[in-house]
Amino acid sequence: MAANVTPSRGAAVRIDRLRKTFGSAVAVDSISLDIPTGSFVTLLGPSGSGKTTTLNLIAGFLSPDAGSILFDGAIVSNVPTHKRNIGMVFQNYALFPHMTVFDNVGFPLKMRTKLTSAEARTRILETLALVELNGFEARYPRQLSGGQQQRVAMARALVSHPRLLLMDEPLGALDKKLREQMQFEIKNIHRSIGTTFVYVTHDQTEALTMSDLIVVMNYGKIEQAGTPRQLYETPENQFVADFLGGANLLPGTVAAVAADHFSVAVEGGFTVQVPRDRVAAKAGDAVSVLVRPEEVGVALTEDRQAGAECVAGTVTAVGYLGDSLKLEIAVAGIAIGAKLARARGFSIESGQRVFVSWPRASARLLLRSTR
């Protein structure tokens, strides 16, 4: 079994037309995906979108109905779970309650390697140091806080230097502050060890901060895969636009196509311009105009600038978030959200007439999906 432990170079994982059904429910619907060696890939999607099922297929807990999974080019369909050389952090950690922290972390070494107990001890302490949890070796899991259990789970997953690390919403049970700290630490660990990480979350902020590659899933399908920047700035459809950060999606139809922009007649009666930017649409297509709330400016007086849209509306809701001010403005019957940073001293009330503007270049045209 010792032969299974390769030096810690991450596996390149290829998922090829993978499909898994439970009865009549299609949990994973023929997805294909390339995960480069050593990368940090996040499966992002709402609950029930097939993230866990995908992870369980990679782990070998489930076998696919169709399609295949390859590690470094080799199909692993017939490789049982325990020989796949994977580490995994479970959502509820799944620490062995009858073993101490030391034995939990030592477990993969005992199963996979022929290290002497002194060598194993060194490795266990090293790994516990990596997750900053020295001094707790003799404790049992239930004597630890949630955050500490999380660290033990990380150490156990990493200790045998697996070529692939799977994490299923590992921070879901932690409070916000701890979660943010752990995001940072997990990212640091990833950078320092170079193993391939496949991370699952339904939290878009988490996905954006940590990932090299984000795979947005919905109803068992991949909606879009790309870098955080690509997904945020050039989403391909409404679902991705909406799931990654708040989005204003103004419904309308393409009125005219110019060389560098579309003119879109927004329902409610105003017309805006949107950059063309590789989107294929023709006059008459039903579309949505994506405008990020943080791109939206709000002013009490009309201030038309070149290269910006400006429409009049009425404030319908005001929310104070501390670091920003969140407004909802009704423009010709359509609600537009704005998130104003540095809003100190800016006082605005519900019912007030305002002018809403955004740079034309920041808007994006999305074909309205029929789903």
């Binding site: 299974n4 782990a59 796949r84 995994m88 479970f90 996979r112 239930r142 997953a157």
Partner: protein, 293 residues
């Protein structure tokens, strides 16, 4: 400062607080007192009385008359073997009921539960039909020519154990099953993904986690076995006489109620001692770092 206001609510609340438990528990407590504790007390009292005076004579005769001491020993011996046997046979079945294929699982569950519903006298009698000199087993063995004379399958330790294990098996299986259901199966998955083959994952994770259930089921089955009466009486020889049979014999044939009481008290005392010692040895709270979170 708040102004004190007469408020009838707390008084009514505290009345309810006293009345509700009394109403809920009262009938049962009365029942237990009059039909269990009271006669039990009388029995204990009787066992210490000889000619209206306190005495340990009954206990002395229990320990000095070989037949009684032997029955007590036999009782323990048979109960231990019966419990270990049920555990060995029951554990794999309970495990299958937790992890196996859903459809087969349902069938197995029914097969386990049906005998549980049958009266154990009926179940003991059924072995007479099966194991008798002209029973099904002997006839079958003669028919296929393996033997010419019927075997003595009844009235020995083996037949008593077969009968008792058959009766205790459903209880053993269901108790283990209940405990195994509570084991988080994701832990087994965690063991496998971290390098344990299914076999090693079972022994390093599932089995140790099932031990509290094993301890509980073992104790339950053992204590019930101690009180067996009908099965050894029907399927055993005098060599397999258990303490309950002795108590019955002394009470109804010899009419020595005080001696029967003493034997009963002794069985009770030994049982309680076993429970206490057992709980000390296998205290779940001491395992794995304290109480369940």
């Amino acid at each position: 400062m708040t102004v004190p206001v007469a408020d009838p609510a707390p008084a009514r609340m505290s009345l309810n607080r006293a009345l509700v438990p009394a109403l809920l528990l009262g009938p049962t407590l009365l029942w237990i007192f009059f039909f269990f504790l009271w006669p039990l007390g009388l029995m204990v009292w009787q066992s210490f009385i000889v000619k209206d005076a306190f005495s340990l004579d009954h206990y002395a005769s229990l320990f000095t008359t070989p037949i009684y001491a032997r029955a007590l020993w036999t009782t323990f011996e048979i109960s231990i073997i019966c419990t270990v046997g049920s555990l060995i046979l029951g554990y794999p079945v309970a495990y299958y009921l937790v992890v196996g294929d859903a459809r087969i699982r349902a069938v197995v569950m029914i097969l386990v539960i049906i005998p549980y519903w049958l009266d154990y006298i009926v179940r003991s009698f059924s072995w007479l039909i099966l194991f008798g000199r002209r029973g099904l087993v002997n006839r079958f063995l003669i028919d296929i020519g393996l033997i010419t004379e019927p075997l003595q399958l009844l009235y020995n330790l083996g037949s008593v154990l077969v009968g008792m294990i058959q009766i205790m098996l459903p209880l053993m299986i269901l108790t283990l099953f209940g405990a195994m259901l509570r084991i988080n199966r994701q832990l087994v998955a965690a063991a496998e993904i971290h390098g344990a083959s299914p076999w090693r994952a079972f022994w390093s994770v599932f089995f140790p986690l099932s031990l509290p259930g094993v301890y509980a089921a073992f104790l339950l089955v053992f204590i019930i076995s101690l009180g067996f009466y009908i099965t050894p009486a029907l399927l055993g020889s005098p060599k397999e006489t258990m303490i309950s049979q002795i108590i019955m014999l002394v009470a109804t044939e010899l009419f020595d109620w005080p001696l029967a009481s003493a034997a009963g008290v002794l069985l009770l005392a030994v049982t309680i001692a076993v429970v206490i010692a057992y709980n000390r040895a296998f205290s779940i709270e001491r395992l794995w770092g304290g109480k369940e979170a």
